[in-house]
Amino acid sequence: MSESTAPVLRAEGLVKTHYGEGAPAHAVRGVDLSVARGEFVAITGPSGAGKSTLLHLLGGLQRPDKGSIWLDGECTDGYDEARWAVERRRRIGIVFQFFNLVSDLSVADNVELPALLAGVPPKQARAEREALLEELGLTGKERSVPGELSGGEQQRVALARALVNHPPLLLADEPAGSLDSRGTREVMRLLSRFHQRGQTIVLVTHDARLASAADRVISFFDGRIVDDAALDGGPSSGKGISGVLELKD
């Protein structure tokens, strides 16, 4: 299969069980999933449904007990930790709920670091960083450290870091989970903007507002996909938006 037609991401028969104290937790119980290039997929469900575990499997942050994952048609079964780390710089960008920025590095260094680690020449890394920070409205914050920024700003830095190497796939794990309503809208606007430019995104969220920015929503319950719906954006049956917006006496 040629690179351009293979799904950016494909998973088959994924299973993951956490063994801790007490009964084993069946976080992911047989998941098949295919994400085409340019798709924006949201995975929603209650907390504890296993959706974050699923995202961690897809990004190689955890390994499945069973099942396989393909990136651009390439099977990852044989990948070791080091190889996954490389792919997370080249092919997969990830943003997390709590940003996970390096707290004693400046904003500029946080963004440039993955580029430098991927072997991008310093000059080019700086240019990429400047362009992204400007795009994300963070010009002037380059020398700050993450602790000096608001949550919304830190998440934008994390987004810049995730995208600095132009990965074909962006994974986002509750990216607005620790932000207020305004920060949530900002994240939503930025994800939509990158998606419109062709970025493939898989987003895990319990927030339906955020999920509605996607063009496909997967409902995840108890370790399984229970619904997989394309949001067509067309008028919904029923009274739709005029019904929910109309102020009644």
Binding site: R185, S219, F221, A229, L231, D232, G233, I241, L247, D249
Partner: protein, 171 residues
């Protein structure tokens, strides 16, 4: 529609079409606009019940227009409106009845009902997001209206999720 029209007239006299425009400007393009006929009918009723009074104003090339102003009784009705708190929003009772009664009819699966309803809510949520993006950034009232609708829908989606959690265990 009655009390909002009284509230718009509290600022000063206006004719029907002006009131429609004021409402549009305040609530933004997202708000499903009442048609002008509906406004005229409501104004007629308000006049009949003595809450407003209309005066014909002559126009040179067009038929007379009627300019309305609040009466004392109208101002009193408005004051009373502001004194009451509003009723709470209601649970989606029609959907809930469908869901609750589904097993005994044997005609629908509860989880399928929930999934179908969720798709509709998500599509509506998406339309609301688009409306918010298209709305004038500076119109705070319009944005708050859309955000209110989104938060209500979010609550309904959370509730569907709870229904699904509980009912899946039974299946």
């Amino acid at each position: 529609m009655r009390l909002p029209l009284l509230a718009l007239l509290a600022r000063g006299p206006a004719h029907g079409y002006e009131l429609k425009q004021d409402l549009e400007q305040l609530l933004g393009s997202a708000y499903p606009q009442p048609n002008v006929g509906q406004i005229y009918v409501t104004l007629g009723r308000l006049e009949k019940s003595g809450l407003i009074e209309g005066e014909d104003v002559e126009q040179s090339s067009r038929p007379n227009k009627k300019v309305y102003h609040l009466t004392d009784a109208g101002r009193e009705a408005l004051r009373a409106w502001y004194e009451e708190t509003a009723d709470e929003p209601r649970v989606r009772d029609e959907f809930f009845m469908k869901l609750a009664l589904a097993p005994q009819t044997g005609l629908a699966d509860q989880i399928a009902l929930i999934n179908k309803q969720r798709r509709q809510y998500l599509n509506t949520m998406r339309e609301l997001s688009k409306l918010a993006a298209a709305e004038d950034r500076d119109n705070r009232i319009a944005h708050l209206l859309i955000e209110g609708a989104m938060l209500h829908l979010q609550a309904d989606l959370d509730w569907l999720e709870r229904c699904q959690e509980e009912l899946e265990d039974l299946q």
